[in-house]
Subunit: 196 residues, 2 copies
DNA sequence: CAAAATTAGTTAGGTGCCATACTATATTCA
DNA sequence: TGAATATAGTATGGCACCTAACTAATTTTG
């Protein structure tokens, strides 16, 4: 029993409504406790998701980021520029360099200098990289499917809608200034979603 | 324009249904494309949430983990054991040591050796730590509230329910083996939620 | 055309978190 | 009582990702 084995306890770190209320009262703030509860649960879920994702991909010798690079390459006929990849994945070029370093070391991609532009280095998905994706696909997708398995088809649709709006709301955490409260239920007309 | 300024583009990295379908078809798998879409969007949201959370707390000179330590201390009359804190926050003791190191360096907590048990070190929320929490509370909670501001009251309730089940589903990513598919909509009677 | 500015990629250094292995202090029990 | 064991906390080293600064190659422009 020398192994502590930190298994995610499911109960830890899931904030309760009373906790939210207590905190709000402590400082005498004028905010809706349920809203705070939802937000807090969401943050906790985000943490768990990130961690679970890494555990998941580690099974296949990948990380979340490296997997996404491989998929992006596959969606691009197996070849792309590092800067393209960084752009599409929403990470910095520096991060992409690191991801590609590891992928190249593992033989899943290869880099070669571009003929046209000496600054560019073309990234190519290797045979081995393609095989890796293929090999992991069944389990990967089965687990993803299982993740939302507690939701019915209709609920998935509802969840997708709500998650979309909440995802937009994430910017409330990162924006420079706080925007005035928008009660929701109206005033929601122009919400550009996706790009292409 | 020397500054690249990687602002989270909102559009990046949000997977589309066609992408999901294409991947599934590529390997001839028998999974529901919408389920995959939901799962994939969720993972993307998780990544963004984690990042946004760090940006948010950095405004107050904290990280997500360090903030949670302070709150946990406050909920505990300002004093607790590192192992307690680690347990309650769902991180390892090693991680807690790191969090406390920084908090102590910044004067927000202090450590003193226990009299009863020489192995234990009691962690105390300092005056300054309490002040920090108080100072950040208005903006912190306002931003959290704004984050779910695009959802109506009713929608928040629905979201909370769905999120709860999805959160349970996260274990599908981390479990050793894949469980057989549970269609949902029935066979869902005994789902213990929370602990207290 | 040479100097200045831009661009692609990388390196260097930092944060957050983790797992493993170690130290020091109890506790158990033979 | 003294050796084996358990426990609390920490140090070490790892990975993912970031920003800022740097190198090399290309484009702009005077």
């Amino acid at each position: 029993m020398a192994n502590d084995n930190k298994v995610w306890n499911q109960n830890d770190a899931v904030p309760s409504l009373v906790q939210s209320k207590r905190q709000i009262e402590r400082y005498g703030l004028d905010v809706d406790a349920q809203a705070i509860l939802v937000a807090t649960r969401l943050l906790a879920a985000g943490t768990r998701l990130g961690h679970a994702s890494e555990v998941h991909f580690a099974r296949f010798g990948l990380s979340t980021g490296r997997y996404r690079v491989l998929v992006e390459l596959e969606d691009n006929e197996g070849e792309a520029l590092p800067s393209q990849l960084a752009e599409n994945l929403g990470v910095t070029r520096a991060t992409m360099t690191g991801l590609l370093d590891t992928l190249e070391r593992d033989g899943l991609v290869s880099r070669r200098t571009s003929a046209q532009d000496g600054r560019q280095r073309s990234v190519v998905l290797t045979e081995e990289g393609a095989k890796r994706l293929q090999a992991m696909a069944p389990e990967h997708f089965a687990r993803l499917e299982a993740m939302v398995g507690l939701l019915s088809i209709e609920e998935r649709g509802v969840f997708l809608d709500l998650l979309g709006r909440v995802t937009q709301g994430i910017s409330a955490l990162t924006d420079e200034t706080i925007e005035p409260d928008k009660p929701a239920g109206e005033s929601r007309k122009k919400q550009h979603r996706s790009k292409g």
